[in-house]
């Protein structure tokens, strides 16, 4: 305890005693006996904090989450050195197209990516083709092409770090990103 706070506490104690005294005219003698020393609680006594309140996410209309909820995914995958859309990709893009038609104010960017197994220039061009293939599919489903921009990252932004078949498969992708919501 610091020297500064000590007199203040002593004063407070004196006031408490006098207030006590004013209520009781006569104090029993034993009240003046020294109280047995109480063990001081440790300063770092373990305390408990309630668990954080749960915050769930809700897919707001016109958001990325809403797109994923409606279409099942924002990402479609491609075979090696190909920009062909397989059945799974067409199903997802079909869902994205329906959602985009319903949410007419949403604009999206489709990002095209490749795995690392290509030269730098070729990968940029292949990523562009993948993004464009996804864009053309959405357009064929009735989405105005003016709402879709494309951006190729080539092999510069892999989703997964790794030099194996599984990583490559997950990196050959086109991702539909909501840029302005409805």
């Amino acid at each position: 305890m610091t020297q500064k706070t000590l007199p203040i506490l002593m004063l407070a104690g004196a006031l408490a005693v006098s207030a006590c005294a004013s209520k009781k005219e006569v104090l029993p003698a034993e009240a003046w006996q020294a109280a047995p020393a109480q063990p001081q609680p440790p300063i770092d006594q373990p305390g408990t904090v309630p668990a954080p309140e749960a915050v769930g996410s809700s897919a707001l209309p016109g958001s990325q989450a809403a797109l994923v909820a409606a279409a099942g995914a924002d990402t479609v995958y491609f075979p090696f050195d190909s920009y062909a859309l397989d059945e799974a990709a067409r199903t997802i893009l079909g869902g994205q197209a329906e959602w985009l038609v319903r949410n007419g104010n949403v604009r999206v960017t489709i990002e095209g990516h490749t795995d690392e197994r290509g030269t730098r220039e070729y990968n940029l061009a292949l990523g562009e083709r993948r993004a464009n293939a996804a864009k053309n599919f959405l357009a064929a489903q009735g989405v105005d092409t003016g709402r879709i921009s494309i951006l190729s990252f080539g092999s510069e932004r892999p989703a997964v770090d790794g030099s194996n078949e599984d990583a490559w498969a997950r990196n050959r992708r086109a991702v539909t990103i909501v840029v302005t919501g409805g």
Binding site: G118, R120, E121, A125, E128, A133, R157, P158
Partner: protein, 435 residues
């Protein structure tokens, strides 16, 4: 660069000397060469350090350059006494013969009254005792390394018959951070890794920098503002300028030999075509057309033909066309794919990336499609770039798992060596010889 080069003396030796390095066979053992510390008389303090120390470092730079070429084997300096000033012009050849040196590079470093340095550069045939080279360079203290590179270039040139390449720079992409969020910055350094500088902050993804052959200008690709396109960067003034006004992505920029034209790829509806952009008038001309990926264009040294890669035949292969886009002929055949071609400054070969059996390897091929040779054998070597004399190829190597570094290899396929960089590195491009 603040540099003044003065020709002090030039005494080309008569052609009697037979001392010569055979650079074509790729089989000969490197030539043993002595490069003792350059003497300085009384040492003098300069802004670049004491001339005694500079004499040691100049010899060390020359030695490292010559060793790095793979054509010379510098002899340990402890094998002979360091010459004094008087011995620069009249060496004690016996000691160098005993050390089994065939050639001797010596010289001096002196501080001048006007604040400049003079670095003398001498070359001798140790056996015939003939002087093959004697030239001085006067430089500002900041330019002393260039004088050492110039000396090494003269020695290389005198002994091989080829132009040197040591007084030159490399631009490349410095890489840091995890691969999913890689930070890429432009960086430039001397050919030996000295004078390293970062040119961009890393805020924007940058790729494929290349020097103009004639000016202090780079071209590179930047994703600034999520608008991937080709830029010009004047490294003297720091000014930058986006190239053209394309709606879509532009990439793979490369200058013509005269620096006036920039070839690049521009995408439209998912397809990449090759354009020629006139740097002066800022007008662009489309050179290829069709539903294929046409990219990686590179001019022949006479500027009349262009090698590029295209998948028009079904897979990525090399083609040569005229400078107006006419007459495209496929030149790469055989197993696998071929990409990122670049024409040698000598004109006789095209270096490229051969993709075959799951490997990416550096290869060369003649412009008519004959004589393909693989030079490297690794997991992923790509993006070749020629030394100014067309003898050495710089490229980037990515190991399985992602670590990337710069390497160089001799045209003969020998001397595969790492180029030191402070962080991981890719997309190297060799600049022209400095002037």
């Amino acid at each position: 660069m603040m540099l003044r080069l003065l020709l002090l003396l030039w005494m080309a030796a008569p052609a009697a000397a037979q001392l010569r390095v055979d650079i074509t066979s790729g089989t000969e053992a490197p030539m043993p060469i002595a490069v003792p510390t350059f003497p300085t008389g009384a040492g003098a303090a300069t802004p670049a350090g004491n001339t005694l120390e500079l004499g040691r470092q100049v010899a060390s730079i020359i030695s490292a350059n010559l060793a790095g070429s793979g054509l010379f084997k510098p002899i340990n300096a402890e094998a002979f006494p360091a010459p004094g000033m008087a011995e620069v012009g009249q060496p004690q050849f016996g000691a160098f013969r005993t050390a089994a040196a065939q050639a001797l590079v010596t010289g001096f470093v002196t501080a001048n009254a006007d604040g400049t340095l003079t670095i003398g550069c001498y070359l001798y045939d140790v056996f015939s005792e003939e002087q093959l080279l004697r030239q001085g360079f006067t430089v500002t203290p900041a330019g002393w390394r260039r004088a050492a590179h110039k000396c090494a270039d003269l020695v290389y040139s005198r002994l091989t018959g080829e132009t040197g390449y040591f007084d030159s720079r490399i631009v490349y992409v410095a890489e840091t951070g995890p691969r999913t969020k890689r930070v890429k910055r432009l960086a430039v350094m001397d050919q030996d890794g000295a004078n390293h500088r970062f040119l961009t902050s890393g805020a924007s993804l940058v790729l494929m920098p290349r020097f103009s052959p004639v000016s202090e200008t780079l071209t590179y690709m930047s994703f600034a503002n999520n608008r991937p396109r080709v830029w010009l960067y004047n490294i003297g003034t720091g000014s930058q300028q986006a190239v053209g006004d394309f709606e879509s992505m532009s990439f793979a920029g490369r200058f013509s030999p005269d620096g006036r034209t920039l070839l690049m790829s521009v995408t439209r509806a998912g397809n990449a075509d090759i354009y020629a952009y006139d740097v002066g008038s800022r007008r662009s001309t489309r050179l290829t057309n069709g539903n294929s990926i046409d990219t990686s264009p590179s001019f022949s040294p006479d500027g009349r033909r262009i090698v590029f890669e295209s998948d028009r035949g079904g897979s990525q292969q090399l083609y040569v066309m005229n400078d107006d886009g006419s007459g495209a002929q496929r030149i790469s055949f055989g197993e696998g794919r071929a990409g990122s071609p670049v024409w040698s400054p000598r004109g006789d070969l095209i270096a490229f990336t051969r993709i075959q059996g799951g490997k990416f390897r550096i290869a060369v091929i003649r412009p008519d499609g004959t004589g393909e040779r693989l030079l490297t054998d690794s997991w992923q070597d790509e993006g070749p770039s020629w030394s100014p004399n067309g003898r050495v190829i710089l490229f980037s190597r990515t190991e399985r798992g992602g670590r990337s570094s710069l390497r160089s290899i001799d045209l003969t396929g020998r001397n595969d060596r790492r180029i030191p960089t402070p962080v991981e590195a890719s997309d190297p491009a060799w600049g022209p010889l400095l002037r």
